[in-house]
Symmetry: C2
Subunit: 253 residues, 2 copies
C-alpha cells in the first residue's frame, strides 16, 4: 500500500513510524514547516514537501494528520480530488472530507502522543469510519497490519470518545501535576506517590471506576475535607478544584 | 514482635495480612463490630475482641487503624497507658497519641485499599514518624520486614502527602468514572479507553506531569473546547468540571 502523510506533528510522527515498521510504502511526508517534514521523512526514508501542490499523486491513501482547523482546507485541495483521504482527528466529522472526494474515512488512534515519549503502537486502539464498506475494510486491514485493535466508530461516537479521553487523560494528568506541585512546594519527592498512582489504574483494570471510589468525599469525612481546604488556602486554584470535585463525588455517593 | 491491631477496615485488613505474612506475631484484632474482628482474626489466626477493655496487654506494638475521628478516643484508653501506640492515618498528627503514652508514632501506608482489590504490600511506601529515634527504628524495621520502602515524614508533611493523594488518586478515579459514564451513556465500551489510561500513567514514570500535558486546553484549541461543552449541555455537573479544569490548564500554559 502506497501512503502519503500530510502532517508531521506528534500523531503524524508516531503513526508514520508505525506504518513504516509494518512494511507499508510511505511515499512522502508533507508539512508546511519544511524542517518538520524533512526531519520525519529522513526518519522514514521517503520524499518530503512543504506544499500540497507538490503532492505525490500515486498514493493509495492520503492520511491528513494536522490541527483540527486545517483539515477541511487541506482536504479541499484540487490535488486530493477523488483521492482516498482520511483524517486522524477525534472531534472532526468524516463529512468534512466529502466535498472533494468519493473515497474518504477516519483513522483515529485513541492515544496520547508526546514528543520523545515511547508508545507501543500495537497497543493503540484505532477508531475507524469510512464512506463505504470497501474503504472501511482497507482501513481495517491497515490497522491489522499495525497490530492494532480496531473499532467501528461513527463520527458522533468518536466525538464522545474524544470528550471522555479529555477526562481520563488530560484532566487526570492535570491532577498528577497538582499533586506534584503540592509535593514540590513542601520538599517531598513525587516518587512517594508513584505506587499510589500505579494502583489507582490497576484497580480499574477489572472494576468500574465508580465502584472503587475512595477518599474523604465519598466517605463524607467533612473533618478531613476541612483540613485539606485549610491547607489549600494559599493555593486558591487548587482549592476551587478540590471543592468542586469533592462536591460532585459526595453528591454521587 | 508481638502486635495488636485495633481496627478491621480496609487498611487494617491489608496491613494485618502483610504483617502476618512477614512472620510477625499478631496477638489480637479488636474492632467494635465483632463480626469484622472475628473475620479478620480468623484470616490471620489470632484472638479477637470488640472492646479495648479486653485488649491483650502483652504486645510490643499497638496499631490503631480506624476512622480518623476515633483515633484520639481509642488512644486515650487506660489499657493503652504508656504502650507503644501508632496510628495509620494520613491527616492526623502524631501528637494526638502523646497524652496517654510516652512511646508513640505513625505508620502510614500511602496507598489506596479497597475490599477485594489485591495490593502488593511490598510496593506500598510507608511514611514513618515517631516520638524518638528508638521508636522510629522499630517502625522502620517493621517496614523492612514487610519489604516496603519507608520514608521519614513528619506530621505536617504527611498532611501534604495525604492532600496530594486525594488529587492523584481520588480525583483521578473520579475522572475515570466520568469518562466511563459518558461512554456507557453512548453504548461504547470502556475497554477502548484503557490503553490511553495506561499510557497516561506510563508517561509520567520518568517525566514531570506538567511537562506532558496534552489536550485542547493546553493547546488553546477553543473550537474543540466549545464542541465538548456543547456535548456536555445535558450533563451540567461534568460541564462545570470540564470548564473549571480547562481554565486552570489554560492559565498554566
Amino acid at each position: 500500500m502506497k501512503i502519503v502523510i500530510i502532517g508531521a506533528g506528534n500523531v503524524a510522527t508516531h503513526l508514520a513510524v508505525a506504518i513504516k515498521k509494518s512494511g507499508q510504502n510511505i511515499l512522502q511526508i508533507i508539512s508546511k514547516k519544511i524542517e518538520n517534514s524533512k526531519k520525519l521523512a529522513q526518519k522514514i526514508g521517503c520524499d518530503f514537501a512543504d506544499n500540497i501542490s507538490e503532492i505525490n499523486k500515486n498514493a493509495d491513501l492520503y492520511i491528513i494528520s494536522v490541527s483540527d482547523n486545517q483539515i477541511t482546507k487541506i482536504a479541499s485541495h484540487k490535488n486530493l480530488k477523488n483521492k482516498f483521504v482520511v483524517h486522524t482527528a477525534g472531534s472532526i466529522s468524516q463529512e468534512v472530507l466529502s466535498n472533494n472526494s468519493n473515497k474518504y474515512g477516519v483513522f483515529y488512534p485513541l492515544q496520547t502522543f508526546s514528543k520523545n515519549v515511547f508508545v507501543d503502537f500495537s497497543q493503540v486502539p484505532i477508531c475507524i469510519e469510512a464512506n463505504n464498506t470497501r474503504n472501511f475494510q482497507i482501513l481495517e486491514n491497515l490497522a491489522v497490519k499495525l497490530g492494532c485493535e480496531s473499532y467501528a466508530v461513527n463520527s458522533e461516537q468518536r466525538a464522545k470518545l474524544h470528550l471522555s479521553a479529555v477526562f481520563v487523560n488530560n484532566f487526570t494528568n492535570y491532577m498528577f501535576a497538582v499533586g506534584n506541585d503540592i509535593l514540590e512546594k513542601n520538599n517531598l519527592p513525587f516518587e512517594i506517590l508513584r505506587p499510589l498512582i500505579r494502583q489507582t489504574v490497576a484497580k480499574i483494570e477489572s472494576t468500574k471506576p465508580a465502584d472503587v471510589q475512595t477518599g474523604p468525599a465519598i466517605r463524607g469525612d467533612t473533618e478531613t475535607i476541612k483540613k485539606h481546604l485549610q491547607q489549600l488556602s494559599q493555593m486558591p486554584d487548587y482549592k476551587e478544584i478540590y471543592e468542586l470535585i469533592s462536591n460532585k463525588i459526595s453528591s454521587d455517593s
